[in-house]
């Protein structure tokens, strides 16, 4: 057992997989000598050399494309975007090349695309985004979003071993704020499996990433009022654990979906749509969503605080739904 942060868990996961499998390598801006903008890859160059930890020119299409080519040849590249906002620059080659190649040719492109995402750190419009929805309508891609150090490590290792392209969303707000006691043995969290973080019978809060923690806070607050919320951490978004969601809704009859990305077109809409189609008979209240406001991510603290779902807002929405 050792206590590690979310950030260290990712680094450890990378380290273990690179040791286990020679075909794993890391590619991105300032990942080798500098160890990455947030220090996720600190020390990896010392362990694995510049041959497997590659600093690149500033060229998101270039190095993502190179990862695709290497993956075709049987390597298992891990691509770091310095901030995940910059994955937007590689949107075309990811959705059109990486995502379609198995379907078209039978040969897949196993690769992981990872980097720091999310708000709450006063990063402004271009260093705070939640890009999951951009890729959510592209079959062939997988998307995971760990909320804890344990899942960060376990999902990263599974992503590296997965045979298809996986977008691995690291929430930078959690990098140093989340810690877990990790067992020394192998940790593997299967892609596609969610988890009930807190049991409850009055309503289901369906969430992932940073919002897991605010949702749990909200659930704790409501507990004191006698409202028992079940909190589901999806962990994977594509594919997501529809069965777990439906099972919970069938029990509670009420669904509150919470995410940090903006509301309109956020992935929460898909969860809501599935619930209202597949658990219609069980619903005792409107499927409710709490998400950031439909604006770019503002920078200044009072604005960003207004923009993002607070624990208070989640609590209020959950209470309202519970009393419905």
């Amino acid at each position: 057992m050792s206590t590690v942060t979310y950030l260290e868990a990712i680094r450890d996961g990378l380290h273990e997989e690179m040791e286990r499998d020679e075909s794993v390598f890391l590619i991105g801006e300032d990942v080798a000598t500098y160890g990455g903008a947030f220090g996720v890859t600190t020390g990896l160059k010392d362990s694995f050399g510049e041959e497997r930890i590659l600093d690149t020119p500033i060229s998101e299409v270039g190095f993502t494309g190179a990862a695709i080519g290497a993956a075709m040849m049987g390597m298992r590249p891990v691509v770091e975007f310095q901030f995940l906002d910059f994955i937007a620059c590689a949107f075309n080659i990811i959705t059109n090349y990486a995502a379609t190649t198995r379907y078209r040719t039978g040969n897949g492109v196993p690769m992981v695309m990872r980097g720091p995402m999310g708000g709450g750190v006063r990063g402004g419009p271009f260093h705070s985004q939640n890009p999951e929805s951009f890729f959510f309508n592209t079959p062939g891609l997988k998307i995971v979003a760990p909320a804890t150090a344990y899942d960060a490590k376990g999902l990263l290792k599974s992503s590296i071993r997965d045979n298809d392209p996986v977008i691995f969303l690291e929430h930078k707000y959690l990098y140093r704020r989340m810690k877990d006691d990790l067992p020394s043995g192998e940790i593997l969290v299967p892609i596609g499996e969610g988890l009930v973080r807190k049991k409850g019978g009055d309503l289901s809060i369906i969430t992932f990433g940073s919002m897991v923690h605010r949702s749990l806070e909200a659930a704790d607050a409501l507990e004191k009022e006698g409202i028992h919320a079940e909190v589901i951490d999806l962990r994977s978004l594509l594919p997501f654990d529809e069965a777990l969601i439906l099972e919970s809704i069938k029990k509670t009859g009420k669904a509150l979906i919470v995410h940090e990305a903006t509301l309109t077109g956020g992935v929460g809409a898909e969860f809501a749509a599935r619930i209202s189609e597949k658990a219609f008979e069980y619903l005792d209240g409107p499927v409710t969503r709490v998400a950031s406001l439909d604006t770019p991510v503002p920078y200044s603290p009072p604005l960003e605080d207004m923009f993002m779902p607070s624990t208070q807002i989640i609590t209020n929405a959950a209470r309202k739904l519970a009393h419905y």
Binding site: G69, A70, I93, R102, T105
Partner: protein
């Protein structure tokens, strides 16, 4: 803005080796030189046959010809070794033949048949298998194959394998950021990537001088800090030589090469394109510079083959294509049941979502 003009002269340079030195192609056996002839000719004949099928409405979608450019495509692919990798684009059908894909595969792709390499999931030359044929399957978005080839060369280096990665790109494709970012990576990492930059006068309707402000794509190589050369793309052995040398440079860790081949797209962008934007006489002038005619003359002049021998090969090729087309035409369309297959290595995600509504009314 500058006026359009595409009447560029094809330069006479053939390779980096001096006149006095031996050229790589000098060591080709007569058999090999005839093989080169055979693939080039087969490219042309196959495309002609496809045009025929297109007119019969058997081709599904558009048809893209490489008429006048068959030589550079085939010669470049031919100069590679078995272990090397090649990423052909739409006008590089010939590279697929050189790499061992039978004509039927291409025809079945064009006709959207189930027996084609992608089982009808993707079209025309959009296929390839790095493991079985050393061919990288392209996508339509121009430029993207370049960084992918860089990754291929990178993987080979990481595994300690001596292999080069070659792709083709049009004058138009070299305007893309993907081309630039990919080439820059290859340049900085000195990877054995070879790019055949096909200066064929047009990108769709846009002439080369509205595409770039340089008068030679060698300048693009200079701008990247890599080796660049302009050669006569309709001189088959010149292309062979240039690629052979680029390959050796690559394997000596001297980095990528950009080979500008001066050639001409004698047909429209696709079969539906009436080429109204082409100045009078331009196509005709390039017909006189046909790569196959020139190669035939060269083979005869250098005594590699007689006109009769070449005629015999032509007959063989025609016969082979006919029997290939028969096989292709006999292939049924794909079974709809494969639609959901192979999105992932794991089972499909949403297999069931239209199933409830599929029962007939």
């Amino acid at each position: 803005m500058a006026k359009a003009s595409t009447s560029k002269k094809a330069p006479q340079k053939r390779s980096t080796t001096k006149k006095s030195q031996a050229r790589p192609s000098d060591t080709l056996t007569a058999e090999q030189k005839l093989e080169l002839f055979r693939w080039t000719l087969m490219t042309r004949k196959l495309e002609e046959r496809l045009t025929n099928l297109y007119r019969q409405n058997k081709v599904v979608g558009g048809l893209y010809r490489s008429l006048g450019q068959e030589g550079e495509t085939v010669a470049a692919a031919y100069a590679l070794h078995k272990d090397d990798l090649v990423g052909p684009l739409i006008r590089n059908l010939g590279a697929l033949l050189v790499r061992g894909y039978p004509a039927r595969d291409i025809a079945m792709q064009y006709m959207a048949r189930g027996g084609g390499p992608t089982q009808g999931k993707d079209l025309n030359v959009h296929f390839g298998d790095v493991h079985t044929h050393g061919v990288v399957p392209p996508i339509s978005m121009l430029g993207d194959v370049v960084p992918v080839m860089v990754g291929i060369a990178l993987a080979a280096r990481m595994k300690g394998e001596k292999r080069v990665a070659l792709t083709y790109i049009g004058d138009g494709g070299t305007s893309t950021g993907a081309f630039y970012e990919g080439m820059n990576l290859a340049a900085v990492w000195k990877l054995p990537v070879i790019v055949i930059a096909e200066n064929n006068g047009y990108a769709y309707s846009t002439p080369t001088n509205r595409q770039m402000a340089v008068d030679s794509m060698v300048k693009k190589a200079d701008g990247l800090g890599i080796f660049g050369i302009t050669i006569d793309g309709n001189d088959i052995l010149a292309v062979y030589d240039a690629v052979h040398e680029a390959r050796e440079r690559g394997l000596r860790d001297e980095g990528p090469s950009l080979i500008e081949v001066m050639t001409y797209r004698r047909k429209g962008h696709a079969e539906h394109d009436m080429q109204k934007y082409v100045p009078k006489g331009e196509i005709e002038s390039w017909e006189k510079n046909d790569p196959i005619d020139r190669y035939i003359a060269e083979l005869v002049k250098t005594g590699v083959a007689t006109k009769e021998q070449l005629e015999a090969i032509t007959q063989e090729v025609t016969t082979e294509i006919e029997s290939e087309m028969e096989i292709a035409l006999a292939s049924p369309p794909p079974n709809p049941s494969i639609t959901l297959e192979s999105v992932y290595f794991d089972p499909p995600l949403a297999e069931d979502h239209l199933a409830p509504y599929r029962e007939t009314s």
